[in-house]
Symmetry: D2
Subunit: 337 residues, 4 copies
């Protein structure tokens, strides 16, 4: 249920409402909008007599949160969530441009790419140190050594870091080196992992699963938020369809749909979404035109020798040109790069 | 096979090559590029000794057309096909903006909408007179009466007309009133219909089937072209996936993929592609940013009372605003509206 | 609306009800069940005062046909429809086994195969004379010549014939040679074709489209039935999914679902459904175990030289063994072969 | 690479080959077939001079394991893997019938159901103690308390236990109570979890992900096997398609495809595969007819009050009838129940 308090309710009265709801066994979550405290109370709907709650002095209105996701919904939190990381406020006016190699491969590689993407206008450095690989025999990443390189390369270029965490026990380790914890598409419904990143104080970049509906994706965000971490960035990265020419089908419809249903920022990954280098720029432009809050793009200075995903990585000069094009499209929507 | 003649080959020599290939039982199709005649010869590959053909005096090169579509491929026809209809050259620098009601419902409706979309910048009026309906009990369209209204409303506003033809026997009738013959998604592999529009001299707007791959779509264009009509406009309108929030999943990846594989113009239908009014503008912008050659959009002055598809039709003022936004995005790609 | 008359209503009274409904502009369709005349009245729901109709002397009850398909629904026609063709009653206790080559290729081929499948237990000979081909350059079938061969080979072996009709104008020709008119998957929503076979007195075998829901499939059956032809046999032949190992994903769930929603017989095509010869027998057995009313299977005596679909055709001896296995499984469900 | 040793190679010579391959940095896996030791050597293909290996005295042949999965492939292990659990040998002649409630809800519930399914012929008791739930607010299972109940109910009825493990850290706990460790569909590519169950000595039941190809599924089995645990049971449970009438589309094609590609047993879950009670029996029969090695079915004595998935649970008497039907179908394929 959504309980909205009257404007100007003193803090002590608000705290009283929260306590009474909690004592009924409900989990309560609080936000503010238009000068009003808004409380999402989640649990057994029969735990309270809601007609009675509506008559409490501090309460302005009580209504049902109709969607299965509560904290992630616009009904609970009407204005856009903005998540500050390093120099960028994700979900704000400025688009978040995240770029970097698929995998961290070595010092020279990551420093070269970090410098290139920073100069082009990126504010976040991406790079995998732990790689989810379909085959057990493929390169699995450099592990902590890779994280250290990523951190140093980012710091040297005033970039924030986003990197993937694949298992609950590694959340603490990742959080030491990375500013944003990425949950990959294969792990979108790995609830133990969602619980652990939900306990972290680092923002979470949650990729959409290849066969997951938008509602399921928002419910996975809800898992993270229900554990206390409200800094969730959604990332569309392509769904699985019958089409085989592209690696996946980037579902840009998801961008305006998420913006309607949720207050969380949504970015787009055109590199995995298409899997083809020369399709990345058109789809990146399209994502911005559709209203995305940012992009995450694979860039490699020597893609033919990349240890993973070289075929979909942009060369630095292609990335520069792409950022230039995006700048103008962003203006049409009142955004900046 | 693709036979390229030497630059400056006299017409008589070119005609001789064509005749010899034809006499071997091959279907031959001719185009020109960079001052060279290019010939696609289709049929039994063993009909000729191709090593021998390569030595004919007029012949510069002989190569295989590797893709299953031949006439639709860039290998046969390297430069973009531009199709002139009324005031617009589809596939040229100017984007083709087609707009109008889902169904023609009556004189006042179609004239009101035609004027509105023309003023906003559309150059082609869309409108269904024969409607493919999943249910046999739904409104099936006004038929020829609807076509007459559509033609008059278009002429009064200097617009061209695009309207759907659903069966082979009606191609002649449609061609009397409509400048472009639309083949709907459900008929993408209706080969009898493709044959008949292939015999017409009117351009064909070929929608992608809901579950068809890009290769199958281009093969359907090939059916039309093999029957003689090379004026095919491709139209992406959403594919079927597991996602149910949107009516279909508009596959914008298809835009850059088609532009790579084929010389034919490709436009996008965000109205059917999303099925939701307030998602039409974001996806229309995205389509242009992805490189589409145009848009086809449902507009209705009174969508709540539309006989079909009201929920996805833009109001005229929304369409005006959309065209304004698209103008700026088009400039980023060196296009105009 | 569904109007059920009282048991024992005299024919004149029943006719009176039908007339009054017709005069209100409704299309009326009649069937009988449990000694009661049942009338589906389709059209503008406001055409009648239904509370008033419920009080007419002959009327037992009036209710809504909730599903979008009416004539195809169990609500209108509660008992199974049985369609007699040659020696087999499709939808009855005996399973309908249809078998034969993908395409009719010549006299020897079709006679050899017809004899083999008849001896193995088939009652219907399948074979394509007009072939829908994705590529305009592939073998398109022998046309009427093929139909003649098919008819003669069937007659010589006491088999009925099923063959595909691809365009409205050819329905009459097909009906001269074939006992069952097949509408292929690509034409499931070709409404002009559905209308023409709806006007025929030959049973129609309606294949499910590759991306069509079960509801849309039944609505296409409704198109045929609304035009007067109630002899529709549904055929599941695989849908399109992300899986690429098999040509299609045979959706056997559709069998029990259709049996619940509709009274029409449903058969299964494991040849197109899998596209792989050694997967045909397992899926044919599974189809019968799931409750299918029959099978349609490609058989070729020399599959490596077949002009189409050789890779999925059974050899005659494999077909014999398959029918033997099916016989026992059918018994579990109280069916015979 | 696959290295096959000559028949009669003494153990010391075989050990020598294994050592030499290991010393080259390759992971080696050994099996036997037809009296020959077969060694899969996985790692950098350039680690050895394979022409040289082919000349080693004990070596009969060296060939490439073409598929991306090695240990899971029939090429490495040509005969069927049979996994013994309690009274049943999964993958052997007798079908494995696993049945029980979706979730363990309490003592009376699990004992009632365990007795019912044991009497009907099941050999394995299923039941969830840790439940993966799309919503964070849904019932998450009884945890260890549920496992204890499950174990006691199974022991009282001479059943083995299968239960789902959702996170790496709980593998040890699950292995104390459950004979088979289930990895759910959402976790099919949770590599940390696959690693942990790969280190366990309990058989693993690996469900196919909703959008995963058969090849990816076998690669997930390969992850488990590469960590040392070769007892993997595959379980098809429905994939995600556009069809919405059934909860998922049970892909029975996967059964014969897996049996061709792999030696691992494959069972089918028609409860999740359809999501509809009265569709479970038809699809269970179909699964057996398609060649499945067993079934896993939800049974509940009071499904309307089940805490999860009641709508797809069979009542005990329906389960009894189903097992009776399956018995006869199994005989057609030379199997028993």
């Amino acid at each position: 249920m959504l309980v909205v308090l009257k404007p100007g309710t003193p803090e002590s009265a608000a705290a009283g409402v929260l306590t009474r709801l909690r004592m009924a066994g409900l989990a309560v979550h609080r936000t503010e909008h238009d000068g009003r405290v808004r409380i999402a109370a989640v649990g057994e709907p029969g735990a309270m007599d809601w007609d009675d709650v509506a008559k409490w002095p501090a309460v302005e209105s009580v209504s049902k949160l109709a969607r299965p996701f509560k904290l992630a919904s616009r009904a609970f939190h009407p204005h856009d969530t903005v998540i500050s990381v390093g120099r960028v406020a994700i979900g704000g006016v400025q688009l978040a441009i995240m770029a970097g190699p698929c995998s961290v491969e070595g010092e020279e590689q990551v420093f070269t790419i970090a410098r290139a993407v920073a100069e082009a206008g990126a504010t976040v450095l991406r790079g995998g140190a732990y790689k989810p690989r379909t085959s057990p025999y493929a390169f699995q990443g450099l592990g902590e050594e890779g994280l250290k390189l990523l951190r140093r390369a980012a710091d040297a270029n005033a970039l924030a870091v986003v990197s993937e965490v694949m298992e609950p026990q590694l959340v603490g380790l990742l959080a030491r080196y990375s500013d944003i914890l990425q949950v990959g598409a294969r792990n979108m419904q790995n609830y133990a992992l969602l619980r652990e990143v939900g306990h972290s104080d680092k923002p979470v970049l949650l990729k959409r699963g290849l066969s997951n509906t938008i509602e399921e994706w928002l419910l996975s965000a809800e898992h993270v938020m229900a554990h206390g971490n409200r800094q969730v960035i959604l990332c569309e990265r392509g769904i699985r369809t019958f089409e085989t020419y592209t690696r996946n089908t980037l579902d840009l419809n998801a961008v305006p749909v998420v913006k309607e249903l949720s207050h969380l920022p949504v970015i787009v990954d055109p590199s995995h979404g298409t899997g083809i280098r020369d399709k990345v720029a058109p789809m990146a432009r399209a994502a911005v035109a559709a209203g995305a809050d940012g992009l995450i793009i694979e860039v490699h200075h020597d893609p033919d020798r990349a240890l993973s995903d070289g075929a979909q990585s942009l060369r630095p000069e292609q990335f520069v040109e792409l950022v230039r094009q995006i700048r103008t499209i962003a203006e049409v929507l009142g955004r900046t790069v």
